[in-house]
Amino acid sequence: MALFQLSRRDALIFALFALVVITMPVWTAPFGANYPGLMQKFAIYAIFAIGFNILFGLTGYLSFGHAAFLGVGSYTAVWSFKLLTMDALPALLLAVLISGLFALVIGFLSLRRSGIYFSILTLAFAQMSYNLAYSVLTPITNGETSLQLTLQDPRLIDLAFTTRGAGLPTASLFGVTLSGLSGFYFCAVVLLIAFFFAQKVFASPFGMMLRGIKSNQMRMSYTGFNTRPYALTAFVISGMYAGLAGALLAVTDPLAGAERMQWTASGEVVLMTILGGVGTLIGPVIGAWLIKYFENIFSSFNEGILSRFFDFIPAPLHDTIVAISSKFVGEGWQLTLGLLFVLVVVFLPGGIMEGVRRIGALFRRGTPPKAGAIRVQPAE
């Protein structure tokens, strides 16, 4: 069936990717990142970044408001838990649907402009959503206290079959509780599905048209394409990915707060995509993992850990090195991330994936390096 077919190269990439994701608890151990809470975030933010890249990487439209869809997905999922059932599937489906509708409206309005004006419009809509969640929409979002499960939730479907338990319930899938490692594997499977669909989009004529829009939108019009519905479809798809990621955040921790929609969260996914490689399949995933790793692990390093790490250096130099490097870890983790970002953008404008490609080209000397869709710039 055409639905499940991939080219041989894509099938190989998918198999390798699946292997990497499923064995994550093993290979993250040496980095101290193999606890379920963080691995869940690795999977979830990878989905967010993959979806964002379908818009930014293929179509060239730089959205600065995608966190709004993440937030909408989270709120929808928590409401699904509260009103219907603790099962994760209805929550995910509803979240994808609602965030898709939300993206349709915002995309329809924002795509009337391109370039910087489009970015500003999406930023404005996202900030508007964020502020509304704190003010007039409090009945839906529960404002500053965040939307949470309570002991009085109706949960119509669940309670039709079972009686109310003593404590707060956790999300489940067909009766299996999704927490810890099972929660991670659930997110991992959803990530693989999301990755597979992104591969289909990249290889399809539709994906080629999106690249055409990024490359020369005017030529697309004179070639007979109505470009706006193409860009809008890409926008809605990426909004749905964001909603899916938001719902998974709620599955792993049934709580939705407005801060998830703040502009810093929108900026974060832009950084992930550019850091990893705009327009590549794997790049945004690597970017997401790197940033989440820095945020969660690097930020917990302190002088004690550094002191042990630099043990092999003789004493007088040792203290100096520890003193200097301690500024770059712990609370200073953003300094390191910022430097890394600057270095990547200056020396590898195609992101980490361009570095991978250059190294690959060194090994295959003679064949010219294959330049991908690696332009870091919004559509004009």
């Binding site: 290889a203 490359s215 394409f225 330049a371």
Partner: protein, 262 residues
């Protein structure tokens, strides 16, 4: 002769275009016959590109209308005009620099097959063998077959022009608008392009061509309109226009004869 007998496909009807106080085009009437090559010549600033832009829907005329095959083009969007069978080669090549040469030619083929908008995420470009074969055949025609996997942005200007022509030809347009298709080409490439355009003329494609190179114009044109100061000052068969003293004055300031350029 009546219109039906002459089979006019493109009708520019009393078109004027003003930019503020500047009359770029004044009362232009133009009839292009099916299968013919109609050249528009004239000095710089005569309004040739403006006329082409009005036909293709890039500029809205101040008054008048453009009718193609019974359909009013004026007011339609560029993609709608293309879907009616009108393609255009631009003065500066408009291509997809980030895609490969082959992809550049395949994209218009999708527009022809699938229409202005279609979400087909479940198909794979790799499996579109028929379209790819057709694109490769056309690249062979324009002499770019060996560059088909190169990045289009890396092509020379002349090669970009030939690729843009291939992008139009794969759509089998019923009307092809060419804005100086050989500008910036070597003499050899110019002759190759003339041969190619003569070949597609045999297939019955109607063409409107703007050109400075008189060698190209007299090699290809069935009919010539001379534009000067936004007005058509002469129109006729190549030989008639060649001998027209008014043309020589407008076009060359009376300093040379058109033959001298030829």
């Amino acid at each position: 002769m009546t219109t039906t007998e002459r089979n006019v496909v493109l009708h520019v009807d009393d078109v004027s275009k003003n930019f503020g106080g500047l009359h770029a085009l004044s009362d232009i009437d133009l009839e292009v016959e099916q299968g013919k090559t109609h050249a528009i010549i004239g000095p710089n600033g005569a309004g040739k590109s403006t006329l082409l832009n009005v036909i293709i829907g890039r500029l809205a005329p101040t008054s008048g209308a453009v009718v193609f095959d019974g359909q009013v083009l004026t007011g339609k969007k560029p993609h709608q005009i293309n879907q009616l069978g009108v393609a255009r080669v631009f003065q500066t090549p408009e291509i997809f620099p980030d895609l490969t040469v082959l992809q550049n030619v395949m994209v218009p083929a999708f527009a022809k097959r699938d229409g202005a908008f279609r979400v087909n995420v479940l198909r794979s470009v790799d499996r579109e063998a028929a379209l790819r074969d057709e694109a490769e055949a056309i690249l062979e025609d324009v002499g770019l077959a060996d560059r088909r996997l190169s990045h289009a942005g890396a092509l020379s200007r002349g090669d970009k022009r030939r690729m843009e022509l291939a992008m139009c030809l794969i759509q089998h347009p019923r009307l092809l608008l060419l804005d100086e298709p050989t500008a910036g080409m070597s003499r050899h490439d110019t002759n190759t392009t003339i041969d190619l355009l003569q070949k597609i003329k045999a297939r019955g494609m109607t063409k409107v061509i703007i050109e400075h190179d008189m060698h190209v114009v007299f090699s290809l044109a069935d009919k010539i309109s001379v534009l000067s100061g936004g007005r058509i000052i002469a129109e006729g068969l190549p030989d008639e226009v060649r001998g027209n003293i008014k043309v020589q004055e407008a076009y060359l300031g009376g300093a040379h004869r058109v033959e001298a350029v030829h």
